[in-house]
Symmetry: C2
Subunit: 481 residues, 2 copies
């Protein structure tokens, strides 16, 4: 419970830093947050804890106790498998590389980036080796296990291998179909106060509990706070309401997971939201499965008319075309749901080979270009800033994270397929503004399960089968062809 | 430094609770804040600290080191002089009594209050006795020393004894003078967004650094945050702009003290703002000495016209009469600066006698009534809710705090008297919108001194003499007669 309380404090301080804190507060805040992190690290590495875990593992326990113990052991490994010196060295090298990356990206300076990045890779490999020795996993698996417990590179190879077979051709077919569809662009400006009112109205409709959370602004949108008090953020551009609206719906999916974690487990390890991929499956269930469906668009249209005044672009069919437009682009974070997996597959293949020592940092641009050509038909030669320099993840050594994005999209498609098999009228009810079957299913099968199972078991129990990319493919083909 | 970082976290969490947190976050927040407080208590009572202090006290130290050591010793005493069981018992009894007081006050239920309050008094006396035994001070002095280090009841008796000689007659004379003065009341409503804009403009004019702090709303206005990031709050009523404007100016005084504490001392005990009374001398320098002066009112008038549209009440002379109106009232927090000391003297005399065991809780209403008659000519018999039940302080056992309010008002008058002796054109420059002499004096003599001296020495060094109520009297007579 002490860790739970301290991480509550850390989370609110982080939220405040990003939403409320004036510039000159930064240094003192960084010191205070570092002190809290150091404190939490001391708690997690307390030798008495190791002994307690060993004792508990030989006792007879209930299912929940066993799940708690498994999560505590995972957390203990995470905190204790690495020597303090390596953790510090990686943190420093990552911070240095990330800081320089912020200007190097804009300057298209791959050579400059490499100078710092080589050290980040070297330390990340060392980290992966130690974690692998400790856990018996392969090096990349050992890193990925932090984000997707139980999911292995062999699974990802099988799943992404399948996607690579059909995705490029699907993109071509979708673009051919969309080429001649009429599309009316919305005409701004859309004042921030009106966008905020619209976002709040949609959040309310999607069941966000405003007595247990709030919506604010930050430069980079995130979902923070604690399960009892979820802090969402978005950012506004007056010429475009879609980004903040869809971003808010996305974060609302994360938020409802947190707000519906079992209250009786809060403060226990089993009470945490399951992995990054499962969390993303909630935000994408809300944003992609629900909000970009034709049924939901029919609900959005009158709300847009009400908040911004009516205009031709708010016609429901036009709006739906707007929200499902597919474009081949350089930038992952701007990608639609059809091309997004291509960005992830490319990154996964590169970072896995990098961690396993099959390639070196210098090899990345050529590989990036080759894969972008194959997957999306785009030429990125010499364009580092829109290529391998575009993401923050590698600069601070967060290897193993990227697959979670596309796993999340696939889990979400699988959840909605499972829902439709038990509620054949699911889409009709969504069109009528009734999300009960969807939310009840998510609550029963995901939210209420928290960290009770590792990720693959959660998927099986929820949907009756292991992760199956056929559901994702079927979803894309149904919506886009 | 660890304590400094943890108290940073605690302060921001407390601010967030009062300004941002939705209702359902309360339980988890209370637990997280309690965990942090317990942690800080463990740090403050670490046996190694006691040994370190003893060692340091026998070493040769610089002035600053010696001041640091003195403050650390004071803090150590504060944390260690009382047995854990007493601290907990008092905290519980205080929380219970305060919680019940919230409804008992409205219900005028003195009998009900007494049932809880007797225990609070019993435990506060025990606390005072232990602190007195430890420090060699009298019991009440031992409590007051927490708020005004170095100030003793003997000083207060001398000062308040002087005020009692002239205050009742002064009030009578001021009211006689004001009786026939014309007064035009401002006509609302004053929309919250406009009040907020007005308040921000005044804060800016008063030198508040918005890169190192912010202004928000809370049910009970306070000045929180940390020196690097000061968080002010106010509350708005659309029918009255004066309360939030003057409240904001008051808090801005607190804020500038914090924002101008010496940066090189932050994190050290000597870097803390000096006592509650000295802090209050800053808020009252801003609100009473500066903002309610005729000179400053001349600056406020055009700003009010600009923000709210012009109206007859915003004539500078009328506005000044409005901001200096004297009324005999029951309620301390609503009192003007002339009658305010009467409320404090009454409370001081009662609480001192209570802690020293000269009276019992049952005696309070009769004493209250007698003193209100003598000082303000008001009859409070049977009216507990506007009498001895009106303040929160006693309900949770915060005895020794009340004198700080009036000490603050007196220090502020003494600061401005000192300023005028070095800058004879002070008031002319204020009238011209130039606050430089005032702020430079406060920065050199108060803000930059932090906790370098105990309170009486700070007063002497700043103004060249010990606290002298003649300055406060002269201020009131000059402004009101």
């Amino acid at each position: 419970m002490r860790l739970y309380h301290f991480s509550h404090a850390a989370s609110i301080l982080g939220w405040d830093r990003n939403t409320m804190m004036p510039a000159k507060g930064n240094e003192a805040r960084a010191a205070a947050e570092a002190e809290l992190q150091a404190l939490m690290h001391r708690v997690r590495t307390d030798p008495q804890l190791a002994e307690g875990l060993r004792r508990a593992e030989s006792e007879s326990l209930s299912d929940t106790e066993r799940a708690n113990l498994r999560e505590m052991r995972r957390d203990w490994r995470d905190a204790n498998a690495l020597p303090e010196s390596l953790v510090q060295a990686k943190s420093l090298a990552g911070a240095k590389c990330e800081h320089a990356w912020r200007s190097q990206r804009a300057a298209n300076d791959w050579r400059g980036f490499l100078e710092n990045f080589r050290e980040v890779v070297r330390l990340s490999r060392e980290e992966a080796k130690l974690l692998a020795d400790d856990s018996g996993l392969s090096r990349y698996d050992a890193l990925m296990d932090r984000y997707e417990p139980g999911v292995r590179a062999a699974d990802i190879d099988r799943i992404f291998g399948d996607v690579k077979q059909w995705l490029p051709q699907l993109i071509t077919r979708v673009q051919a179909k969309q080429r001649d569809e009429p599309l009316i662009a919305p005409v701004g400006p859309f004042p921030v106060v009106k966008q905020r009112a619209m976002n709040l109205a949609v959040m309310k409709r999607l069941g966000f509990d405003f007595d247990a959370g709030r919506l604010d602004e930050s430069a980079h949108p995130f979902s923070g706070g604690v399960p009892e008090d979820v802090r969402l953020t978005t950012r506004y551009r007056e010429d475009d309401f879609v980004q903040s609206l869809m971003g808010t719906i996305h974060e609302t999916g994360h938020a409802r997971f947190e707000q519906n974690l079992p209250r009786e487990w809060l403060g226990q390890p089993v009470g945490h939201a399951r992995s990054y991929g499962i969390h993303e499956s909630q935000s994408l269930s809300f944003e992609m499965q629900l909000a970009r469906s034709r049924e939901f668009t029919g609900l959005l249209a009158p709300m847009l008319n009400e908040h911004f005044g009516s205009q031709p672009a708010f016609d429901a069919d036009n709006l739906h075309r707007l929200l499902t437009r597919v474009k081949r682009g350089f930038i992952r974070v701007n990608a639609d749901e059809v091309t997004y997996p291509a960005h992830i597959i490319l990154r996964y293949e590169i970072e896995r080979a990098l961690i396993e020592g099959e390639i070196e940092p210098d090899d990345i641009p050529a590989l990036w270009d080759e894969k972008m050509k194959t997957l999306l038909g785009l030429d990125t030669r010499g364009n580092y800033k829109d290529g391998c320099l575009q993401d923050v993840h590698w600069s601070d050594g967060s290897f193993g994270y990227f697959p979670s994005y596309t796993l999340g999209a696939m889990y979400a498609a699988q959840w909605f397929a499972a829902m439709r098999s038990t509620s054949p009228d699911l889409d009709a009810r969504i069109a009528a503004g009734d999300f009960t079957p969807a939310f009840q299913w998510l609550k029963a099968n995901v939210w209420s399960q928290a960290s009770r199972w590792d990720t693959p078991e959660l998927v099986c129990r929820a949907s009756g089968e292991a992760l199956n990319p056929a559901h994702f493919r079927a979803h894309l083909e149904t919506r886009y062809l």
